[in-house]
């Protein structure tokens, strides 16, 4: 049986990297006594798939991982058992059963929404809302993406589905988070700062991932994003 677990990661836990979070959950699942399925072979490992890696320093209330279990009483029991063995800063928000044919969390990811909130004492941007509008109104937002292997020119605008400012003055955005076209919220922020001609240190904003989405639109149609937890 395939199970999808949604969790939040915040506070001091934002300093724990992606691989260490996987290790954390492997041990947590053992502490919780969940009847997880193991792979075959000489060194069996838990069948587990994480959705989209979260950068160190970023908080989230929309993280996902899928596991396969051999047996369970109810999704509520799994949620409770996991929450009993969590630490401060990690909380299991929901546990759902996936349809057998569902793609795993990692393959399903299409987009993610983020909130960039100014930290206390950080430099505010005047007329932020107008500036964000003007920024998004540009024809294209060229960005030079440097990876270990290559340097590619990309147009960020293609991958920014929504961007705006909420009532608290935080920047909200919905961007591509798929494995092929992932956009980092910090990169968008960096380009925005360039656009308004301001030098703002990246760490003056706390980034939070709000939700991770999959796209249920048919090929060629407009995107239809739904949270990963709503599959099935």
């Amino acid at each position: 049986m395939k199970i999808r677990i949604k969790f939040a990661k915040y506070g001091t836990m934002k300093f724990i990297g992606h691989l260490d979070m996987m290790r954390f959950f492997q041990k947590a699942i053992r502490r919780a006594g969940i009847d997880i399925k193991y792979s075959e072979g000489f060194s069996p490992h838990q069948i587990m798939s994480f959705a989209a890696p979260l950068g160190v320093g970023i908080e989230s209330c929309g993280e996902y991982m899928d596991i396969e279990v051999l047996s369970m009483t109810s999704t509520q029991d799994i949620k409770d058992a996991l929450n009993r063995v969590m630490v401060d800063g990690v909380e299991v928000l929901s546990v759902t059963v996936l349809p057998e044919q569902a793609k795993n969390a990692m393959a399903s990811v299409a987009a993610a929404s983020y909130r960039l909130q100014m930290k206390e004492g950080a430099f505010p941007i005047d007329h932020l809302e107008d500036k964000v509008k003007a920024f998004y109104g540009e024809e294209s937002i060229p960005y030079t993406k440097e990876t270990k292997k290559s340097v590619v020119e990309v147009d960020l605008k293609q991958g920014i589905y929504e961007i705006g400012v909420d009532s608290d003055g935080a920047i909200m955005m919905l961007v591509n988070a798929s494995s092929s076209g992932n956009i980092k919220p910090t990169v968008v922020f960096e380009k925005l700062c360039q656009f308004v001609n301001l030098e703002i240190p990246q760490l003056s904003y706390q980034v939070t991932r709000l939700e991770t989405y999959t796209d249920i639109a048919k090929a060629g149609e407009e995107h239809v994003f739904i949270p990963l937890a709503d599959v099935g």
Binding site: D20, Q26, R30, S43, G57, G89, L203
Partner: protein
């Protein structure tokens, strides 16, 4: 949410911020207003090393079980954070409360190897505690040293308010009760230390002066008060089965060296290898009850979620219920997808059978520690391992499918000759030849065998029969490593043998610290002031700085390393009584020179003196 001692900017700058945030599973948070004693327990090396240490987990768990005590953990900030903390004057903090160590009542530092001595000063300095005990005023934490290196505490005596000699389980309650009592009646720091000096196992170095002869050797000791002891007898837990054990060890977020459940099956070792300090310090051997161990294993795996369990002891094969314990673990662990790691096992049919059940034979390697290349020298060091046994074990292993063997030797052992060194290559070659004789051509998986031969340099340690021995110079060590390499190159099967050796200059320094006296502390302090920290990490070890410090302090390295010590010399550590008598050690030193072996404790008592503790192997039916 706890407020962290370091802000986001700093944590995002440093490597592995998880080293500094605490919050791990099974870490203990208490209300500081509800405790009487706050204790910072420190391992003076980086988090991943310190978190792997069983002793700290035992003390941490035991102290936190007491309602009126809060024990937190402290490790050496890595060099990147070290620099930032100095620049910004951020005081070193406990991982749990994230509050400054200097505001706590005690700072306990475990000292597991000599090369961490400058890190002790780093920890004190970053904590904003004066480096010298004599300069600490009221309100500063009491700085305690413990662990194997404190059996010769003199080289670091100036930095500690007190040392706890021996096993940590026994005297902390008494020490804390006295601390609370002294504070309640308005007593001073000095009052506390005076009282503490009378608690068994506690040594307060500032109350004693080391006196020297004209030639620099120790003449004697003068104590400041009549009512404090002349000798300090080590503390020991006789009932290890009912001693405290950490059933909920702290589980780190990041991968550490020992990322598994550690089950200590016994303390001490029956073998009596003459170079080995642990083998003498932890006498007599005391075994934990096997049923208790089974129950601990199950609970600890459940409480941590670890995927692996490891047995810990100096010589696991000597544990009398090993078969039963391993059978249980194999049965229990296979259901739970748990790995078993088996260090320090003697290679024989039984252990190979067990290993083939718990490891991937193709991927794992077997380890032999002959320690010396010839039977003659193995007799000198009392290592009861013969060539026949090694070759037989190797043949069995090769038949079982193993193709990788690791061999450990020491260079520079007392009485060593060129023949003995040549023996290292010869033995490595014979093991390779055994593979080709045992495994037919069509059954050789990769067609070959891999022998990795490693040598370390012998360092005489206090409380061993070799405490009288001379140590080699750096040049002699390097010459011996060169000879070993040549010896291996000459072998028929040299292509199957890879040779590794240690760096020699660190070994020389370790030799000075191991048998040093109080005069060494000024050199350590000076080296620290000139920037030496993390000396155990080769990339941060600056031998040239150290050599200059010895010269500038007027301390002669040869006095501590290469000097011949007469049988009746008074050693700096003689005032500590580890249970084993100096007469026994001298007897063993003479037997070593006669190339005579001594039986192990199970076969025949050698009268080492440890039977005075009234238990363990000394009183069991042999």
């Amino acid at each position: 949410m706890r407020k962290l001692a370091l802000n986001d900017d700093i944590l995002m700058q440093v490597e592995k911020p998880a080293r500094y945030i605490g919050n791990e599973v099974n870490s203990v948070i208490k209300d500081k207003t509800q405790v009487a004693v706050r204790f910072a327990m420190c391992f003076p090396d980086v988090y991943e090393i310190g978190m792997s240490h069983l002793g700290i987990q035992i003390i941490y768990s035991m102290l936190n079980e007491w309602e009126d005590v809060w024990c937190e953990r402290v490790y050496s900030p890595w060099v990147d954070l070290d620099k930032i903390m100095r620049e910004k004057h951020i005081p070193l903090f406990g991982l749990e409360s994230q509050e400054p160590v200097k505001d706590m009542d005690f700072l306990g530092i475990t000292i597991q190897y000599e090369m961490c001595y400058t890190n002790i000063l780093q920890v004190l300095d970053l904590a904003q505690i004066p480096l010298l005990a004599a300069e600490r005023g009221e309100g500063m934490p009491i700085v305690i040293g413990g662990g194997p290196c404190t059996y010769n505490p003199e080289p670091i005596a100036d930095f500690f308010d007190l040392f706890y000699i021996g096993e940590g389980e026994t005297q902390y309650r008494k020490l804390f009760d006295w601390y609370i009592e002294n504070r309640a009646k308005g007593g001073t720091r000095e009052d506390f230390l005076r009282g503490a000096a009378k608690i068994p196992g506690i040594y307060v170095p500032q109350f004693y002066e080391e006196l020297y002869n004209e030639d620099g050797t120790v003449k004697g000791r003068r104590k400041q008060y009549d009512d404090i002891p002349d000798t300090i007898l080590k503390e020991i837990v006789m009932d290890v089965t009912d001693a405290h054990y950490p059933l909920k060890p702290v589980v780190p977020f990041i991968k550490v060296t020992q990322d598994r459940v550690v089950l200590e099956i016994q303390r001490g070792c029956i073998r009596g290898c003459r170079f080995c300090q642990a083998g003498q310090l932890y006498r007599p051997v005391r075994e934990r009850n096997v049923d208790k161990l089974k129950s601990y294993a199950v609970q600890m795996l459940k409480n941590t979620g670890h995927e692996e369990i490891s047995l810990s002891s100096l010589s696991s094969s000597d544990y009398s219920h090993l078969d039963e314990l391993l059978d249980f673990l194999i049965e229990d662990c296979s259901q739970k997808h748990t790995n078993i790691s088996l260090p320090s096992l003697r290679i024989d049919a039984f252990s190979l059978d067990v290993m083939s059940k718990v490891q991937d034979v193709k991927k794992s390697s077997l380890t032999f520690a002959p320690e010396a290349g010839s039977q003659r020298l193995r007799d000198v060091i009392n290592k009861g391992l013969t060539e026949e046994v090694i070759l037989k074990g190797a043949a069995l292993a090769f038949e079982g499918g193993w193709t990788r063997v690791k061999l450990y030797f020491m260079l520079g052992l007392p009485t060593e000759t060129e023949e003995d060194i040549k023996g290292i290559g010869d033995l490595s070659n014979k093991i390779a030849a055994t593979f080709f004789d045992t495994v037919p051509k069509d059954k050789r998986v990769n067609g070959k065998v891999q022998i990795v031969t490693s040598t370390s340099f012998f360092i005489p340690k206090p409380f061993t029969p070799f405490q009288w021995a001379t140590m080699c110079t750096k040049e002699e060590f390097l010459e011996k490593a060169y000879q070993t390499k040549q010896g291996i190159m000459e072998q028929l099967n040299q292509k199957s043998i890879k040779y590794n050796w240690h760096e020699a200059d660190v070994s020389v320094l370790e030799g000075v610290f191991a048998r040093g006296d109080r005069k060494i502390s000024q050199v350590i302090l000076e080296a620290y002031k000139r920037g030496c920290i993390f000396d155990a990490w080769s990339e941060y070890f600056h031998n040239d700085v150290w050599m200059q410090c010895f010269e500038d302090c007027g301390v002669d390295i040869g006095f501590y390393t290469t000097r011949e010590r007469p049988d009746d010399e008074r050693f700096p550590w003689d005032f500590i009584d580890c249970g084993v008598t100096k007469e026994f050690l001298l007897r063993e030193w003479k037997k070593a020179q006669d190339e005579t072996v001594s039986s192990n404790c199970k076969v025949q008592c050698q009268g080492c003196g440890a039977n005075r503790f009234g238990g363990g192997i000394c009183y069991e039916n042999r």
